[in-house]
């Protein structure tokens, strides 16, 4: 019908340089929530693995992992509710189930994760006295780990399921990035705890896991950057306000601690602990950088038009 006269791809023109899409209101409270619940979620994954691989010898680690999960699932939602513009209505998050909304499904997942983490925490808190508490906690461990895996990554899917160019351009790499960062954060937090508890061997294994996760985080970050470049929406991440944070996260929060863990070998002491701390902070910086850069890209008409270019759609 009108196909002959329909303009093809984006011509480079903008409307007075004005934004096409609107930026989210997601701020540091949301990035803090993402980092916190990612760590809590991955702690449950680690608890399940440790329970399997270590049996009774893993008791200390499992207990600490369950406590990290409990702490995260108590503090995280409180921070998240503060981000709502009408926080008194937080309970409306559980009013319906909307299968198309990662935020709706995420709210239910968070609820389930909180409940399961409370059950596993029973084992951590009363396990030494009560067999029932131990039983309940062990029964809840696998479901808690499954929910925890979801908690580690769903926030990336939530961002990608928007019209914000930077988030929409790399759904896969973003989730891999968030998942790896969650695992790196949880393994590092637990490694620190194990060192404090004097379980150095166990800490070393966790540090190896954290290093692997950091490598994955780095690879996923590079992949995400490539996707952004291909889609022409990477400006905010490369040269925007969040660029230093993202570059810093990659260098100081992934590459350097990875290197530190690699060279520290069997040695104990300050270096591995610093590396663990850097990995935790790096993961948080990565999330905040992605959030900020996305908000900036939403305000750039060039990014929005490139994202909505018909030539990019099959």
């Amino acid at each position: 019908m009108n196909e002959a006269t329909r303009p093809e791809g984006w011509s480079g023109e903008t409307y007075h340089g004005r934004p096409v899409t609107k930026a989210s209101s997601f701020d540091w409270k949301v990035s803090a929530y993402i980092a916190l619940l990612g760590m809590a979620g991955s702690a449950q994954v680690i608890a399940a693995v440790a329970r399997r691989a270590g049996g009774r010898r893993a008791r200390g680690l499992v207990r600490r992992a369950r406590l990290v999960a409990l702490a995260g699932s108590v503090v995280g939602p409180l921070v998240l509710i503060q981000h709502l513009k009408t926080p008194s209505r937080w309970y409306n998050m559980l009013r319906i189930v909307r299968p198309t909304s990662p935020m709706s499904l995420g709210s239910w997942l968070l609820t389930a994760f909180g409940g399961l983490s409370a059950l596993t925490a029973l084992g951590a808190l009363f396990g030494h006295r009560s067999r029932l508490a131990r039983r309940v906690a062990d029964a809840a461990q696998l479901p808690a780990a499954a929910a925890g895996a979801g908690m580690s990554v769903y926030t990336a899917s939530l961002l990608s399921a928007t019209s914000t160019p930077l988030w929409a351009a790399a759904p896969g790499p973003l989730a891999a990035q968030f998942g790896a960062a969650s695992m790196a954060g949880a393994a590092s937090a637990l490694a620190l705890a194990q060192r404090r508890a004097g379980e150095v061997g166990s800490a070393r294994r966790l540090e190896r896991l954290a290093a692997l996760a950091a490598a994955g985080e780095l690879a996923a970050s590079l992949l995400a950057e490539r996707r952004w470049r291909e889609a022409g929406v990477g400006h905010a991440a490369q040269r925007g306000r969040a660029a230093p944070l993202l570059q810093g996260a990659k260098a100081g929060g992934m590459a350097l601690p990875l290197l530190a863990h690699a060279v520290s070998g069997r040695r104990s002491g300050l270096l591995p602990e610093l590396a663990s701390l850097a990995l935790i902070l790096g993961g948080a910086a990565l999330r905040h950088g992605v959030l900020q850069a996305g908000n900036e890209s939403a305000c750039r008409p060039e990014d929005a038009f490139r994202h909505a270019d018909p030539r990019r759609r099959r």
């Binding site: 409307y15 209101s25 680690i46 693995v49 680690l61 009013r95 935020m103 294994r205 008409p301």
Partner: protein, 301 residues
């Protein structure tokens, strides 16, 4: 009857209190009744827009929206800037005074060098904002329009980045999301939406989407015949590549320039389908690391 200015249906209610509306007044102003169960929307024909902003004013008045963006933007006559929590109609102005760095010396017919368009929420089907809303505050009405229920919205703000057109926005005043309701209250009362009723050139037409579409296609054909070959429909259901992934826009447009000249994305996409591949890649990464943890022997001393 004397004169002949009043509509026959209006005369039927001559003895009614004039402060109350005439039942199904839309029949008088648009020739169509407003009945639940049908899809209603806007057809905005930019070739008829004269940039008077009557729609903006009527919308603010009817919906009691506060004034904002006081000041001048320097962007032609567009001092409204953008759609937002308090601005549900926005007339865009784009002056095409030249091409390729040279002054234009000829004038094509219809909105020659001055493109004006009254922008509005597209009441998409499916609607990305609605698909994102976790509380059910955003819902599809019996008129197929998309409305935010103010008593449910908790201001999570997820609909804002979800909208491919930058329409819906959180109000800093009350912490809820706001946007065009297609005058839900007026439709319930059998009235045409305020903007369409106030439009002096009928650039904004209100009615059942199927009927609007027929008229729009005829209008495009007429414009082509009258020497404006660039006219095309944006966002009309079934228009090739118009809405990439979003089935149709219940508020659609007739344009004579590329979509971006009116600040419309050339091929907006539905965001929701991006969630599944994303979550699967993420879970794969976590599962891989969990397997690695097992191999490393995390938990052993």
């Amino acid at each position: 009857m004397e004169g002949g200015l009043a509509h026959r249906r209006a005369l039927d209610y001559a003895d009614r209190d004039p402060r109350g509306p005439i039942p199904q007044e839309a029949e008088i102003t648009t020739g169509r009744r407003v009945e639940p169960g049908r899809a209603y929307g806007f057809f905005t024909d930019t070739t008829l827009c004269i940039g008077c902003k009557a729609c903006e004013v009527a919308c603010k008045e009817w919906n009691q929206l506060p004034a904002d963006h006081l000041g001048l933007t320097g962007h032609s006559y567009d001092n409204t800037g953008h759609l937002g929590a308090h601005t549900w109609r926005h007339v865009t102005f784009n002056e095409k005074i030249g091409k390729d760095g040279r002054r234009a010396t000829t004038m094509p017919p219809y909105q020659s060098h001055w493109l004006m368009m009254s922008d509005v929420c597209k009441h998409c089907d499916p609607a990305p904002c609605l698909e994102a809303c976790p509380t059910g505050a955003l819902f599809r009405t019996e008129f197929e329009s998309v409305v935010v229920q103010q008593d449910i919205c908790n201001g999570c703000g997820y609909c804002v980045p979800a909208c491919p057109f930058g329409v819906v926005e959180l109000s800093v005043e009350d912490g809820k999301a706001h946007k065009c309701t297609l005058c839900y209250d007026r439709l319930k009362g059998g009235l045409e939406p305020a903007c369409a009723k106030s439009c002096p050139t009928d650039s904004i037409r209100f009615g059942p989407v199927e009927e609007l579409l027929e008229g729009a296609k005829a209008r495009v054909a007429r414009l082509h015949a009258q020497g404006q070959p660039a006219a095309y429909l944006y966002g009309a259901p079934g228009t090739p590549r118009a809405t990439g992934g979003i089935g149709r826009l219940n508020a659609f447009f007739l344009l004579i320039e590329r979509p971006e000249a009116y600040n419309l994305p050339p091929a907006p996409s539905r965001p929701a389908p991006r969630a599944l591949p994303s979550i699967l890649s993420g879970l794969a990464a976590v599962a891989g690391l969990a397997a690695a943890a097992l191999l490393i022997g995390v938990g052993r001393r």
